[in-house]
């Protein structure tokens, strides 16, 4: 569905059916250089199983107008503006990578609007190596290859994403290539520069779930576990044979963890 958020066109995938605002709402927030389609095997299921779903394209990503937002805090505020635009009073936030920091920040600073958070591929600090950060600025194809390789733990996936016969690494690369030039650097800089993670983690009062890939080379699981310790009552689900792109590498594991977590809130 198309919305107007902060004066610009914004898009959110609603899981293959119109959103029903009477149902508990789940907002999916993608990571750097991605769009809503990374969530297809989680969002579509939830939309058909008792949830209203908004899998957003962040500003300048996918179908949403730009420019890209330069900080995690700005994206978190944009999510609240999106909830306003959609007529949603309160939602669960599910975020991946950069989106996980957004979910954390949003839950801490806007507690009335967020009833639970699920963080996938999360870490704090989410430092980006100098080499990668400069590549995102100076050589996007190189940076996309680096991220694509570091985001996956295998060259064979079952059941693959969005289904058998689809090549996960190829899809992820093409999805990054589809984003507008310049967006990648803004996104990675936002991750790298986010300094409030520890403070925000301590402020989170809603239930929190961390889903971590044991083979994550982008945001190592140990870093995610440390962040989880800072969130009161947070639970951690670790997925064995998964890298950073868990939604595609282990779609059922991620969905099952999310479904169980969200069920507690309904």
């Amino acid at each position: 569905m198309d919305l107007t958020v902060q004066g610009r066109k914004a898009y959110a995938y609603t899981g293959g059916k119109a959103i029903d605002l009477r149902l508990p709402c789940v907002v999916f927030v993608h990571g750097a250089e991605h769009d809503h389609s990374v969530w297809v095997l989680q969002s579509r299921y939830l939309a058909h199983h008792g949830h209203g779903v908004l899998a957003v394209d962040l500003p300048a990503h996918g179908r949403s107008e730009g420019p890209p937002l330069a900080s995690v805090e700005a994206i978190a505020d944009w999510i609240v503006a999106l909830l306003d635009a959609a007529g949603v009073k309160q939602a669960a936030l599910v975020g991946h990578s950069m989106g996980s920091l957004v979910a954390l920040d949003c839950a801490a600073r806007h507690p009335a609007r967020v009833n639970r958070i699920a963080l996938i591929g999360a870490a704090f600090p989410m430092r980006v190596s100098d080499e990668l950060l400069s590549a995102t600025r100076d050589d996007e194809p190189l940076a996309q290859d680096m991220v694509n390789i570091w985001s996956h733990s295998a060259y064979a996936h079952y059941p693959s994403n969005p289904g058998p016969g689809f090549w996960v690494l190829g899809e992820n690369l093409r999805l990054m290539q589809r984003q507008k030039p310049g967006v990648m650097h803004v996104d990675f800089r936002a991750c790298n520069d986010y300094a409030a993670g520890a403070e925000r983690a301590a402020q989170v009062a809603c239930p929190a779930l961390f889903i971590l890939g044991r083979r994550d080379a982008m945001t190592p699981a140990r870093s995610g576990r440390e962040l989880a310790k800072a969130v009161k009552g947070a639970r951690v689900v670790e997925i064995g044979a998964s890298g950073h792109n868990s939604m595609a590498e282990k779609p059922d594991d991620v969905l099952d963890a999310l479904t169980a977590f969200l069920r507690e809130g309904t």
């Binding site: 995938y13 293959g16 769009d35 809503h36 389609s37 297809v40 095997l41 579509r44 299921y45 058909h48 199983h49 996918g62 179908r63 190596s129 080499e131 990668l132 190189l142 290859d145 680096m146 390789i149 570091w150 295998a154 060259y155 064979a156 996936h157 079952y158 059941p159 693959s160 994403n161 969005p162 289904g163 058998p164 016969g165 689809f166 090549w167 690494l169 190829g170 899809e171 093409r174 999805l175 290539q177 589809r178 779609p251 059922d252 969905l255």
Partner: protein, 431 residues
């Protein structure tokens, strides 16, 4: 962190899309000889049918053995998805039927395999899809033939049998100027010799029966989606960007930003046309792909040896191989096919059709049959076999004369091939 690298081509040929079976430890790809797959429960069944979860339901739509082949080919080509189907013709049809319907138009190279020409010239018009054929070397002709209802440009990476080299970068530019994709038949080149997506093509298919299998024991085809074409921005493909009544209003581009074409091809084309590949065939083609790099290297080396031999034989009138300076696409071939121009080519023998008959009937190592890309060397007379449905004008336009002989060079000792050709050429001139 040091700069990482993807697994390289030879390694992907062996590993992409397949890991040891987690239940049995089987290292090779198992043949999942089953029509159907058990659901965990009723909710799982409904979720699989509605694409809320990924997995296998019925082997016409997907099968674990086929999925390995599909993902491996997508990896080797640098695409986003593969679809394994019953034959190369089925792959071409699935690709075109996903893009085009009644009232659509295609612009195609006229240098095509006879079966492909037949589909475009005679069969698809029965379903309301028209094709304009153009000289593949005439870029203006391609541009002028495009109409508002044109759905794609189509051609073979190396035309059969004249080996016209398709100018993929130039044609991709023309196609994209008109917001349509470039769809190519990459059978003769395989991803070892050329990766069309790297050059600008958007969709491709292979007759996997040929070099991918290499053994001549299985008929199959693979359609591969490059994931490069933006269907939404094009605005010309409502089948991919608007709700589809045949799948509960699914908007395929919304579901997958980069693989909408493959989703529709699988969810509509495989479901409704049903030209699926059998799992043992997928296994056999995978066995071939494991050695594709090694075989292609030898195919090309043997071909170069044979071409060099034929050049010096007085019974040979002309040879159509792009590595020769006299071939009209020589410069383009050097640019697009630096690893070689494949192992299928044609040549003309002095003495026309009778000499050609004597030549073919004298050969003993070469097999006279209607196939190419086998590990064994093959020979055929296109005007009376693979291209017999084309009239003389169409044959001439495709570069085929009455004395044209097509060879597919295999993996034998090259000296045995030369000895065989020497005997047959000598016999051909004794009429």
């Amino acid at each position: 962190m040091s700069q990482p690298s993807y697994l390289r081509f030879d390694t992907l040929s062996l590993h992409a899309g397949q890991a040891p079976d987690p239940h049995t430890g089987a290292r090779a790809t198992p043949i999942y000889q089953t029509t159907s797959f058990v659901f965990r429960d009723a909710d799982h069944a409904a979720a699989l049918f509605n694409m809320e979860r990924a997995g296998h339901v019925y082997s016409r739509i997907s099968n674990p053995t086929n999925a390995v082949l599909e993902e491996r080919m997508a990896a080797l080509e640098g695409g986003v998805a593969g679809l394994a189907v019953a034959s190369g013709q089925a792959a071409m049809h699935l690709g075109l039927a996903t893009l085009a319907g009644a009232g659509s138009h295609i612009v195609s190279s006229r240098a095509l395999y006879g079966g492909s020409h037949n589909l475009l010239a005679y069969t698809l018009p029965r379903f309301g899809v028209e094709t304009t054929f153009v000289n593949p070397r005439d870029l203006d002709a391609w541009r002028k033939a495009i109409r508002p209802n044109t759905k794609c440009l189509f051609g073979e990476t190396l035309g059969n049998p004249g080996l016209d080299v398709l100018n993929i970068p130039a044609l991709a530019e023309i196609a994209h100027e008109h917001r349509i994709p470039l769809f190519v038949d990459a059978t003769f080149t395989t991803p070892y010799l050329m990766r069309p997506f790297d050059l600008g093509a958007d969709l491709l298919f292979h007759s996997a029966t040929k070099f991918l299998g290499g053994h001549g024991v299985a008929i199959g085809g693979i359609l591969v989606d490059g994931g490069t074409f933006d269907w939404e921005a094009s605005g010309k493909f409502p089948e991919l960007t608007e709700p589809y009544a045949g799948f509960h209003g699914m908007d395929f581009q919304e579901e997958s930003t980069v693989a909408a074409f493959s989703l529709r091809a699988r969810r509509e084309g495989l479901r409704d046309f049903g030209a699926c590949m059998s799992p043992p065939t997928a296994f056999q083609i995978l066995q071939g792909i494991e050695t594709l790099p090694l075989r292609m290297e030898r195919h090309v080396a043997n071909t170069r040896t044979v071409v060099e031999f034929l050049r010096s034989n007085p019974a040979v009138e002309s040879i159509g191989y792009p590595e020769l300076p006299e071939h009209p696409d020589h410069a383009l071939a050097k640019q697009l096919l630096p690893r070689g121009c494949g192992a299928v080519f044609s040549f003309s023998i002095k003495g026309g059709r009778p000499a050609g008959r004597r030549f073919i009937e004298t050969l003993s190592v070469f097999s006279h049959l209607a196939n190419v890309g086998d590990a064994k060397s093959l020979v055929i007379h296109p005007a009376t076999t693979t291209h017999f449905r084309m009239d003389d004008a169409a044959l001439a336009a495709a570069g085929i004369g009455p004395g044209t002989i097509r060879l597919s060079i295999g993996l034998e000792d090259p000296q045995d091939l030369i000895d065989d050709l020497t005997r047959a050429l000598r016999a051909s001139q004794k009429g």
